[in-house]
């Protein structure tokens, strides 16, 4: 299959740290040459920049003070030429740029402050209460579950010596509680035209959605949600009718209409956290952490679910108006982008890294451009071929391909057939031989077992009065070996004494340096190690078994016996 995409730009080391939300394409100079605007998170703590690419060349860079949350472009006035403004959300602020110049900074309205907290700081300001009283009172508020300002929270964490200085430094400034923007989108105000004026839609950390007027920068509408918004999808007109679909951190998707103040009426509860949410026409597509792509109607009814081969990193709608093509791009962590038209996979794009930022639209003078940024910081641009056709392969029609594959049945050899024939002819004899041999084997085993019991040949004592465990180890490669005998008293409480360790060996083959070891009293549970050196006398590479006996003094039958199979002496083997 030939690719439906042309490679336009390829920079695997663009060192961009950005996401889908922080990418946008806009004709910011009103010259028909669309630019790519990227809010770069820099290192994640500093060096944040707003970058503008003109035809893959970096055109300008602007520093941003805090982490950018989202970037959108929108028309905020009706002036000619029609130049859109860029809004960059960052912390509690929205920075507006026009003509690539900083234009305005909007601050989210501060949140209400707990009355008691406010009063406490007021008192502190006039030195009516000391810092310790202040701390105790604030601590009380906090443990009641009241939401406090950052100042109070910081104050509560301080060592008591630092309280005074902190309070003095901060008490004169007005107390305020701020929130953080979590997502940003635009909503056309009263006209649906391409260049109509748009409102900004802002989701915040305090579970609210604000809709801002683009001209006066006042809050037009506030909606409270049950959870913190993560992704917003907007359509409609503010003055007529609009619909916000908001996915939240509690794994729910809420649908808000014009006039609704509470978001909980239409709610889709997902089984997993959404990684991306897009709306195409009347359906909502949600990519989830459990590697599924789910589709819901706007009423919240689940239409279908697709299991994806791996986890999703981001999603974006592909809206290619010249061809009336609306599909969904899903970036996966296996370096692929899957394109879905409804529930059908219509294309797979291989990428050179895990794509975390996706944007499709007009770039330069080309309508169908796909901009991708990767986790490793690369920037890639692809152009949709004009000849490309995306056919809906109906996956349900016809049997799956695998049905035509042959089952891999293990082959049988002629030997197998011969053996089968042999068994057919001699089944009774085979059966009887087997049974007899089995009994002989068992009988033999039992005899050996009894013999071992009788002779105390086993390494674990069968005598209940002397519960001992023996293990032995040979170290070295020869001709001198080290034998370590480990002896353990396995009884719970009874110590054992008067034990002797001795060996039985072929004295032509081996010579023990210590043939007789007197064991001390064995305390239950402890492991005792006894060592001796053995010299191999034979040079012909012969080895033999050596037996270890543990004896009770005064008795000739050993309590336990260990048989050690000696290794071939290495030096001899070489020689």
């Amino acid at each position: 299959m030939t690719s439906k995409w042309l490679d336009a730009y390829h920079d695997p080391v663009a060192s961009l740290y950005t996401f889908t939300q922080c990418l946008t394409l806009a004709d910011i100079q009103a010259d028909g040459d669309w630019k790519l605007i990227i809010a770069d998170l820099g290192t994640g703590s500093y060096d944040m920049k707003l970058k503008v690419y003109k035809n893959t060349n970096l055109m300008s860079e602007h520093a941003i003070i805090d982490l950018p949350t989202g970037v959108v472009n929108f028309y905020m006035d009706t002036l000619e030429p029609r130049t859109p403004a860029i809004a960059v959300a960052s912390g509690p602020y929205i920075y507006i740029y026009k003509n690539l110049r900083p234009y305005f900074k909007f601050t989210l309205p501060p949140l209400s402050i707990n009355q008691i907290e406010q009063e406490l700081w007021e008192q502190a300001k006039h030195d009516n209460i000391n810092v310790f009283v202040l701390r105790d009172a604030l601590e009380g508020l906090r443990s009641d579950g009241q939401l406090l300002t950052v100042r109070s929270l910081k104050f509560l964490q301080l060592e008591s010596t630092d309280l005074e200085a902190f309070a003095n430094l901060h008490k004169h400034a007005p107390l305020k509680r701020q929130t953080v923007i979590t997502c940003l989108d635009t909503l056309k105000k009263s006209l649906a035209d391409e260049d109509a004026i748009s409102c900004l839609v802002v989701g915040t950390e305090n579970k609210s959605i604000y809709i801002l007027d683009p001209e006066a920068f006042t809050v037009l509408t506030t909606v409270d949600l049950p959870s913190i918004p993560v992704f917003i999808s907007v359509n409609g007109l503010y003055d007529v009718e609009y619909r916000l679909v908001v996915s939240c951190r509690n794994g729910c998707i809420y649908t808000l209409k014009r006039g609704s103040k509470e978001g909980s009426k239409y709610c889709i509860e997902l089984n997993s956290q959404p990684v991306g949410m897009e709306r195409i026409n009347k359906t909502i597509y949600v990519g989830c952490m459990d590697e599924t792509l789910q589709c819901y109607s706007s009423k919240g009814k689940k239409l279908w679910t697709i299991k994806l081969p791996t986890s999703i990193t981001t999603m974006k709608t592909l809206d290619y108006s010249p061809r009336q093509l609306k599909t969904l791009l899903v970036a996966l962590s296996n370096n692929e982008i899957h394109m879905y038209k409804d529930k059908y996979l219509v294309d797979v794009i291989k990428t050179e890294g895990v794509v975390t930022g996706l944007q499709f639209g007009r770039f330069g003078r080309e309508d169908g451009t796909l901009v991708m940024t990767t986790r490793g910081g690369g920037l890639f641009v692809k152009i949709l071929k004009r000849s490309a056709k995306f056919e809906e392969k109906d996956a349900l029609a016809g049997p799956p391909i695998s049905q035509n594959q042959k089952i891999n049945i293990p082959k049988k050899t002629k030997l197998f057939v011969d053996q089968t024939l042999r068994e057919r002819q001699n089944a009774v004899a085979m059966h009887r031989t087997f049974q007899r041999d089995l009994y002989l084997l068992r009988l033999n085993t039992a005899r050996q077992y009894v013999k071992a019991l009788d002779n105390s040949m086993n390494p674990i004592s069968s005598d209940p009065t002397e519960p001992l465990k023996l293990s032995a180890q040979i170290q070295g490669i020869g001709p001198t070996f080290k034998l370590t005998v480990n002896l353990q008293n396995t009884s719970l409480s009874q110590p054992t004494s008067n034990l002797i360790i001795t060996f039985n060996y072929d004295d032509k083959l081996y010579s023990f340096r210590n043939k007789f070891i007197e064991a001390p009293m064995l305390v239950p549970g402890l492991n005792y190690a006894f060592e001796t050196f053995i010299d191999c006398l034979n040079e012909k590479g012969v080895s033999d078994n050596v037996k270890v006996y543990v004896l009770k003094s005064g008795r000739s039958v050993p309590i336990i016996t260990g048989v050690i199979s000696m290794p071939v002496s290495e030096a001899v083997a070489v020689a």
Binding site: I65, R101, V230, K406, K412
Partner: protein, 583 residues
């Protein structure tokens, strides 16, 4: 340079302190702020604790846990550990990494930071649940439900906890509550499972039906419903649902297996095999699949292929008695009686209470000329199942061939009694009975109580030309006594007697039992455990040693292994090797 308008007072103050840091970076914005002289002493801006939450969340959902952990660490350092969400995500990551205890501790920290959050309590409970501390989890869930009273997740998870604590009534209540709040398919599935555990199949079917109404396109639910219908014997409906499941997902292995085994039930071997092809690609290491494929080939009389597939299945699941049973059956029909004996007795070791296994074993033993043990096996089979007509029938044939006519006619009468209670008796069995009846000089409708007639008939046989002589001795016929190995014959006593058996060391392993029949049979069982399979060397085993693919998630009802192979097939094949040909 653009003109900057300051629309509200806030911006002025904001601009001030940001200006201090901005001066070097953005030359333009400070221009605004420099106009407003900063006051003498300005408190530094305190960063909001939550300022990076969105970024942490984004990395978390993208499963970029490494970056996420770094961010969390930074955030927690900055906020002095006060950022609830950072702790929360760290706990989630720990859970994903399997460190449940650590995650529990962090979630507990979250509840300390924000005691009013039901979400935190839910997560604490979830961790407790994962640590199998169900009682503690229930307590915390109850606490959480005080904060969020109508929460589906709480009700559902409470139900699961109760289920593990075997409090089925409460679990049911919780699941029903969960379904009332929100119709999630998982709750339906769990409730269905619960009914299944109680053996209430009809309620389970109802629940599944409800679920399918709400999720009509879910292949999982459709398959579950199909399997349930199979269990209650409504094969038509079962097939419909399985077919629907396959329409929505033609690759759904579980549905394929279930539908395939139903096709096998109707002797549609080729259709079933075509379906199994799909499953073979998806789950090439599923033992049930290979078992079913093997039995398809058996049905098509391709015995070598059948044995190959069954041996692969046995290799994949060595402890599955059904596969061993089928292997035994196929070997019996291949007249490989020694191998059949080993497979069957291995199956008996795993499933000691199954009469049909003993019956097949008896057939194998009969053919191995071990009549004593065969009789014991038949008796064991009858003691386990006195309803199955094929067991007394086969036993009667054995006894008759052995010249024990009186006992034979006794079992024949048991057979005639049994067929009255069994609806669909195999025609072959009836034919056999009608042949055996006259030979024993008893009518087809003989009743055992009729002692006099029996005696009379046995007496009269002596006068008549003995019918037995007319036909070759059925057992001996295929094997001309093992004369070929006469040397062996001299040494081997035909499988040792029970008495000697008890002195043998095998009893050390098995534990001696007083009942003679048991002892004898237990011997045959122990034999097998160490038996190396004769033809194993020729078995081309699959080379991959990967762990088995996940099979049906532990639901005992859903193993779509061939059940019918144990009911229909054995009976007919079995009779072929008993005296059918001879009579």
């Amino acid at each position: 340079m653009a003109h900057v308008t300051n629309n509200n007072d806030e911006n002025v103050t904001d601009g001030n302190k940001s200006g201090q840091t901005q001066e070097t970076e953005i030359p333009s914005i400070p221009q605004v702020t420099t106009a407003l002289k900063p006051k003498a002493k300005k408190a530094p801006e305190l960063p909001v604790n939550e300022r990076r939450n969105w970024l942490i969340h984004l990395h978390y959902v993208q499963k970029d846990f490494e970056t996420c952990k770094v961010l969390i660490k930074e955030q927690l350092t900055e906020s002095g550990g006060m950022c609830e969400y950072a702790v929360y995500v760290q706990a989630l990551i720990h859970r994903q990494e399997g460190k449940i205890q650590e995650s529990l501790e962090l979630f507990q920290t979250c509840t300390l930071l924000n005691p009013n959050s039901g979400e935190n309590l839910k997560q604490v409970a979830r961790s407790l649940f994962l640590l199998a501390r169900h009682k503690a989890a229930i307590d915390v869930y109850n606490e959480a439900s005080n904060i969020n009273p109508k929460d589906w997740e709480i009700s559902h998870n409470l139900g699961v906890c109760y289920m593990y604590l075997r409090d089925k009534a409460k679990a049911k209540e919780c699941f029903k509550q969960a379904i009332d709040i929100r119709r999630h398919d998982v709750s339906y599935v769990m409730l269905g499972k619960l009914y299944l555990m109680e053996g209430d199949l009809n309620s389970a079917v109802d629940i599944c039906k409800n679920a399918v109404e709400f999720y009509p396109e879910s292949p999982d639910l459709l398959t579950t419903l199909g399997l349930l219908y199979m269990q209650i014997g409504q094969y038509q409906k079962a097939f419909e649902n399985l077919g629907n499941a396959l329409t929505f997902n033609p690759q759904h292995t579980k549905a394929i297996m279930a539908a395939g085994s139903m096709m096998q039930g109707h002797c549609d071997w080729d259709v079933a095999l075509t379906k199994y092809r799909i499953a073979a690609v998806n789950t090439p290491e599923n033992p049930s699949l290979w078992n079913n494929i093997g039995m398809c080939f058996f049905g098509k009389k391709k015995y070598v292929a059948a044995i190959s597939c069954l041996k692969r299945a046995n290799y994949l699941a060595p402890f599955d008695w059904k596969i061993l049973y089928n292997l035994g059956l196929v070997h019996l029909s291949m007249q490989q009686f020694a191998s059949a004996f080993h497979f069957l007795s291995a199956a008996i070791n795993f499933k000691p209470k199954m009469a049909q296994l003993f019956m097949l074993l008896a057939v194998a033993l009969t053919n191995l000329e071990d009549v004593d043990n065969a009789k014991q096996a038949y008796e064991q089979a009858i003691s386990l199942d006195n309803k199955d007509p094929s067991i007394p029938m086969n036993y009667a044939v054995l006894l008759y061939n052995n010249g024990e006519r009186r006992a034979a006619s006794k079992y024949l009468s048991i057979f005639t009694q049994n067929i009255k209670s069994v609806p669909n008796v195999d025609q072959e069995l009836l034919d056999m009975a009608s042949k055996l009846g006259p030979l024993l000089q008893v009518g087809d409708n003989l009743v055992w109580k009729d002692q006099g007639k029996e005696k009379h008939s046995s007496a009269s046989i002596a006068n008549k030309p003995d019918p037995v002589t007319n036909k070759p001795d059925p057992v001996a016929a295929p094997f001309t006594r093992p004369t070929t190995s006469s040397a062996v014959e001299a040494e081997i006593p035909p499988t040792p007697d029970i008495l000697t058996e008890q002195t043998l060391p095998s009893d050390l392993l098995m534990g001696a039992s007083s009942d003679t029949a048991n002892t004898k049979l237990s011997r045959t069982q122990t034999d097998m455990s160490e038996f190396p399979q004769v033809s194993d060397t020729h078995l081309s085993k699959p080379t991959t040693l990967d762990p088995l693919p996940k099979i049906e998630s532990g639901k005992p009802s859903q193993l779509p292994i061939l059940e019918q192979s144990s009911s229909n097939v054995p009976v007919s094949t079995e009779l072929k090797m008993s005296p059918l040909s001879d009579l």
